[in-house]
């Protein structure tokens, strides 16, 4: 995204800072709306997919085949009353959902959607993502604490411990990606994977991929790591006391985070917008399949989103102490060992590092 691009759209008569503001404003709004729409349909698809896995149909009544279901849900949540519990810390209670949602949306600023299209092409993009995803836990913790309810509080405690534990494993997994790519810039990480599906980082970093994706599921508090919500134990966890749109904001944050983790997984390990057919001979009318484009990122993101739903429908919820054990005693050692292995590969110039 360059200012010249904006100039070609808006003409030269406007001052440069105004051009930039308008351009980024428009892009941000378009991106926001598309992500929210994607999230809305993800809720529908989740219910349909999990339904199908359980031999049910799922919601299919609103609109054609249930297409209108997300909008019906939003309408329902909009007209519901937002109840603030007695003795709740009012300001924090209202701010908490926003604290959960804003980091989730901000992170999209550095995600490369298509070749050359990133809102903010910053050098330390990966660190920025790590910092913002780790800030997302505040929404959950404050929601739990400010509601003045013991169930919510227990949920918040669990969230705090779980998210801190898995952030470390996630960070270490990304260290491996950075070692392979030699850059913290997401666009350059994708470029480093150019050369067909066999040169994706996935092949050399399988353990890190597994650790990253599972940590991502834990980080978004999705099943099987959803002890934070754990209906059977603590009602609905940190958001028991929320109703109406305040609850919906948490819901949106969770799903936006899911989409984000899927996008990041496909960028870090599956070449983002690179085409899986790259480097293979294709007939001329199919040549566009080999070119890198947004479509490939979209397809990969939906594949991982499907995995999220698939896992939720397959695995029973982990027990809390087992989650902690997995995070601290399995994932962190696995990533450390693999980073060491990667270092050896790099030193002896094996695999993708042969030419380095």
């Amino acid at each position: 995204m360059s200012p010249e691009f904006a100039a070609s759209w808006l003409g030269d008569s406007w001052p440069q800072w105004l051009q930039a503001t308008v351009l980024y404003g428009v892009i941000a709004v378009v991106l926001f709306i598309s992500i929210i729409l994607m999230m809305a349909f993800l809720t529908l698809i989740e219910r349909r997919v999990i339904g199908s896995i359980q031999a049910r149909i799922g919601p299919n009544r609103v609109g054609f085949n249930g297409i209108g279901q997300p909008f019906a849900d939003v309408l329902k949540l909009l007209v519901k009353e937002i109840i603030i519990p007695a003795n709740a810390s009012k300001l924090l209670f209202i701010v908490a959902p926003l604290l959960a949602l804003v980091p989730a949306l901000c992170t999209w600023a550095v995600v490369p959607f298509a070749p050359g299209f990133t809102i903010a092409d910053v050098n330390a993009g990966l660190l920025y993502i790590l910092a913002l995803t780790s800030a997302g836990v505040y929404g959950v913790i404050l929601a739990g604490w400010s509601a003045n309810s013991k169930y919510a509080f227990l949920g918040a405690m669990r969230a705090a411990a779980q998210m801190v534990a898995y952030e470390i494993a996630m960070g270490f997994a990304l260290v491996g990606v950075v070692m392979a790519a030699g850059s913290l810039n997401l666009g350059e990480i994708i470029e480093a994977q150019r050369g067909g599906p066999l040169s994706y980082f996935f092949w050399w970093l399988i353990p890190l991929f597994v650790v990253y994706f599972i940590s991502g599921i834990a980080e978004t508090n999705r099943a099987p790591f959803d002890v934070v919500e754990g209906e059977s134990e603590i009602v609905a966890g940190f958001h028991v006391e929320y109703s109406g749109m305040a609850f919906a904001v948490f819901f949106v944050a969770e799903y936006v985070n899911m989409i984000l983790i899927s996008a990041l997984t496909s960028i870090f390990f599956f070449g983002g917008w690179l085409s899986p057919f790259e480097g293979y001979p294709l007939p001329s009318w199919l040549a566009w399949l080999g070119a890198p484009s947004f479509i490939w990122l979209f397809v990969k993101v939906w594949f991982f989103l499907f995995c999220f739903l698939w896992f939720r429908a397959t695995f029973p919820r982990y027990r809390y102490d087992q989650i902690m054990r997995l995070g601290w005693k399995v994932f962190i050692p696995v990533t450390l060992v693999w980073i060491f292995v990667e270092g050896l590969l790099w030193y002896f110039k094996i695999g993708p590092w042969a030419g380095a």
């Binding site: 997919v49 199908s52 031999a55 149909i57 698939w310 429908a313 397959t314």
Partner: protein, 163 residues
């Protein structure tokens, strides 16, 4: 880790992959079994115990003889009966109320009835809109019986072999 095999099993997540395969098989290759209710309905047994009804003899005389066996057997105390001598000198109920909120649809009243007067029909889609409508009076029960007599008779005939 006892054996290399179990080590393998743990670190390559084989058990989890097997589980994922099972759910994916259902997702992709097996049909959903949901019945789309208002349009499709599951088959009902003639013994289905739904809404209550009181029957009449073919000549129009009501069957109930106010023996109060149903009132006695009702485990939920949902039935209230008052009786008197009627105009033609027979023993008849003056009041026969069933509280549908109390009723547990066990069907004991039907079993107890010596003249097959009180029956449970297979009607299960009904509702009330106001307080008090949950008390089904004799008139209402008889009206239901009159309206669905054909269905009730057919169900009784179908079940008669097993009684």
């Amino acid at each position: 880790m006892k054996t290399p095999a179990s080590f393998f099993k743990t670190f390559f997540l084989t058990e989890l992959l097997v589980g994922l395969f099972v759910t994916f098989r259902q997702f992709a290759f097996r049909p959903n079994v949901t019945v789309q209710y208002p349009e499709e309905k599951t088959p009902q047994s003639p013994r289905y115990r739904g809404l209550h009804a009181q029957r009449r003899y073919p000549n129009g005389q009501e069957r109930c003889i106010a023996c109060k066996l149903c009132e006695a057997v009702c485990p939920a105390l949902a039935i209230t009966i008052e009786s008197d001598v009627s105009a033609d000198g027979t023993r008849r109920t003056t009041r026969y109320d069933i509280d549908l909120f109390k009723c547990i649809y066990c069907g004991y009243c039907e079993e107890a009835c010596p003249v097959d007067a009180i029956v449970l029909t297979r009607i299960h889609e009904y509702h009330m809109e106001n307080r008090g409508e949950n008390i089904f009076t004799k008139d209402k029960l008889l009206a239901i019986g009159d309206r669905y007599e054909a269905m009730i008779a057919a169900d009784k005939a179908a079940d008669a072999r097993y009684r």
